[in-house]
Every structure is written in structure tokens, then in C-alpha cells.
């Protein structure tokens, strides 16, 4: 039906398809709209309160597009951290992204020219959406994915830009506003505490903090993260042994969202 109806021009046909894709993608992305604009706003405000130039906020939102790493960068840039340290910390912090793509290998295989952007946009939230939300039947999946990713990033860019602009325009005393950064890390820690019930990872982190503080307070983050990763790897056998029943549950939950694609993510965690 579409072919006969729209054969008058390819351009118009494309326009018609986006016309279908965008509303569906927008509906799917509404939860992210709320989260990204408010968190982006907090990021922009914190960045300006830390004494960094306002334009860094939109530039980071456009090119980096990673919430936790951007927040971490505020402290690093403020203290003039070295580029190598920034690179390693970003690698460790965003290392979790290195497995997100596993469950999207199949769906992205036919993404063509959109693939580089879809990979670029794989934040925690975008990953969550792309692995749970389905494209409407008459809509091309790649375009739907691209629209969701693009909308998500636009929310983030709008939030970050608005935050730093509002922050620079504020005339009242903003001393203490940078506590938002600490508060965000605490919130993310609470989310992790809800999920991780083993005590070994906590021990690894606490031990690493104490050692790093004693050994090298100047490169604290880098030293602590390296030590913690090492301890974690050493305790792996012990942690995974007790982790088995819970992992089976999560593997089952993943399957239902990923019908048709082998659950690469679950098997990655399965120690195969």
C-alpha cells in the first residue's frame, strides 16, 4: 500500500517515515526526558559553581554524552588533573559500557550509516530503552533506535546548557552548590547498595580507599580504582560462587526483552 501511495518521491517517503518514527520514539523516551533535563540542569549548575567556563557544559554534552564521567570530570578539571589520569579514570568509570553493546550486536548489525551514532549514544538510559522498547510494526527499527538516541541526547544537551546558563546568570550566593556532585555520587551508591549484596566488593573499595590515601593522596582516584579493580579480580572466584542463584534469575529476565537474539550479556556475566 505504501509503495503505490508514496511512489511520487523518495524524499517524501522518507519524510513520511520519520513522521511515524518520531512520535513513537518520543513516547518511548519520556522517562529519559525528565531524568536527563533535570540531571543535566544539575550538571550545568555544578560545573559553573565549580568555577569552570559555562560553554564546557554544552560541549561535553554534545561530544562526551556520559553523565557520571562528566560529573567526575568537574573535580578533575577544577584541580588541573593530567590528561592520562583523566583518560584512565574515564576508562574505568565507563568500562561498564564495554558490555552494553553485546546484547545489541544483532539489532545494530543492519544499522548502516546510523551505527556509529547508535554506538556513540549508548548511555545507561539509552541502553535500557533500546533493549526493552520495541519499534512500532510499520517502522524501521534502525530509524526508531536513531530517533530514541537522538532525542535522549537532545534532552541531555538542553539540560546541560540550561544549567550552565542559569548558573552563570545567578546573582545570589551559590557557595555549597557543588555539594550536588557529592549528593549525586551518594545517590548512585545507594542504587548500587540496593543491587549488590555481597560484602567483598565493599571490602575491596574500602581497602583501596585507605591504601590510596596513605600511598598517594594526589592521585587518589586513579590509585584507589586500580587497587580496587585488582582486589576485585582476586576475589572473583569467591564472589561468583555465591552469586550463582541470583545470576540465573537476571538471565531469565533478560531473555524476554531480547527475543530472537542470543543473550550475550547474560552469558558474559556467566563466567563461561
Amino acid at each position: 500500500m505504501q509503495d503505490t501511495y508514496f511512489r511520487s518521491g523518495r524524499k517524501w517517503h522518507l519524510g513520511r517515515e520519520w513522521h511515524l518514527v518520531l512520535p513513537a520514539a518520543f513516547r518511548a523516551s519520556i522517562p529519559v526526558l525528565l531524568g536527563y533535563t533535570t540531571l543535566g540542569l544539575a550538571f550545568g549548575l555544578t560545573l559553573v559553581a565549580a568555577g569552570l567556563p559555562w560553554w564546557l557544559s554544552p560541549v561535553m554534552a554534545v561530544f562526551i554524552f556520559a553523565g557520571a564521567a562528566q560529573f567526575m570530570a568537574i573535580g578533575l578539571l577544577q584541580s588541573g588533573a593530567g590528561l592520562l589520569e583523566i583518560a584512565l579514570l574515564t576508562l574505568l568509570l565507563n568500562g561498564r559500557h564495554a558490555v552494553y553493546g553485546l546484547s545489541l550486536l544483532g539489532p545494530f548489525r543492519s544499522a548502516g550509516k546510523w551505527k556509529p551514532y547508535l554506538i556513540f549514544g549508548l548511555t545507561d538510559e539509552t541502553y535500557g530503552l533500546l533493549t526493552t522498547v520495541k519499534a512500532p510494526p510499520q517502522v524501521d527499527q534502525t530509524k526508531f533506535f536513531a530517533a530514541v538516541t537522538g532525542l535522549n541526547q537532545s534532552y541531555w544537551v538542553i539540560g546541560c546548557t540550561a544549567g550552565s546558563l542559569v548558573g552563570s546568570a545567578l546573582t545570589f550566593d551559590t557557595t555549597g552548590l557543588d555539594f550536588a556532585l557529592t549528593a549525586l555520587f551518594i545517590v548512585l551508591l545507594v542504587e548500587q547498595i540496593r543491587a549488590v549484596k555481597q560484602w567483598e566488593p565493599y571490602l575491596a573499595a574500602a581497602l583501596a580507599c585507605v591504601i590510596a590515601l596513605a600511598v598517594s593522596p594526589r592521585n587518589f582516584l586513579l590509585v584507589a580504582l586500580t587497587i580496587a579493580t585488582g582486589i576485585l579480580a582476586l576475589l572473583r572466584g569467591k564472589i561468583e560462587q555465591r552469586d550463582k542463584p541470583r545470576r540465573d534469575e537476571s538471565g531469565g529476565a533478560q531473555e524476554s526483552t531480547e527475543a530472537g537474539w542470543p543473550d550475550r550479556r547474560g552469558s558474559a556475566g556467566g563466567g563461561a
Binding site: 554524552f65 574515564t90 552494553y100 555539594f179 564472589i239
Partner: protein, 104 residues
């Protein structure tokens, strides 16, 4: 300024790399199981360390003895355990901190 731009460039490249890893290396073979293990527990470890880092430079020996940060931090955590609303927790904790440093 060029330092900021270089830092953004580095972070852009590294972040893109982490997201591209599965497509670059694991499209045809299984990833090492250590990677799956680390991605599960590293976020917790990173957050513990980042929270610790936020508190390590406070002078606990002089007034107000780090009380604003400790109280506001505890309030943020409790608020988040209770309501689990990211925005509420961050705004509430930060507002409490800004009030405390002006009062104490």
C-alpha cells in the same frame, strides 16, 4: 582553554571506545568472562571511591568539623533509600548542605 578542550577530546575518545568495544572485538567471539564480572561490580566500587574522595579533603579538626557534609550526605542517602527519587535526593541534600554551611 586548550587544556579543557584537550580533556574533552580525551574523554570523548575514551568514552566512545568503551561503547564500541563489543562491536570492535566481540562481534564474532565471546568476551572474556572477567569483563562481564567487572562490569557487574565496578560501578559499586567506583561509587564508594568517588563518595570517599568527596569527603577526604574536609578538615575534620576545625569547626564545623565536617558536620555539614556528613549530615547532608547522610540525609541524601536516607532520602534516597526512602523515596528513591534522584532529583529529590540531590536537591534536598544540596539545599540542606547550603543551609548548614551558612548556619554552623
Amino acid at each position: 582553554m586548550s587544556y579543557f578542550l584537550l580533556a574533552v577530546l580525551v574523554m570523548t575518545a575514551v568514552t566512545y571506545f568503551t561503547r564500541a568495544v563489543p562491536f570492535l572485538f566481540f562481534a564474532k567471539r565471546q568476551p572474556p568472562s572477567l569483563l562481564g564480572f567487572l562490569q557487574k561490580y565496578l560501578p559499586l566500587v567506583v561509587m564508594v571511591i568517588l563518595v570517599f574522595a568527596s569527603y577526604k579533603d574536609i578538615d575534620y579538626g576545625a569547626a564545623p568539623f565536617g558536620i555539614p557534609a556528613l549530615v547532608a550526605g547522610a540525609a541524601t542517602a536516607l532520602l534516597h533509600f526512602w523515596k528513591r527519587n534522584v532529583l529529590l535526593s540531590i536537591v534536598g541534600g544540596t539545599a540542606l548542605y547550603m543551609a548548614l554551611i551558612r548556619v554552623l
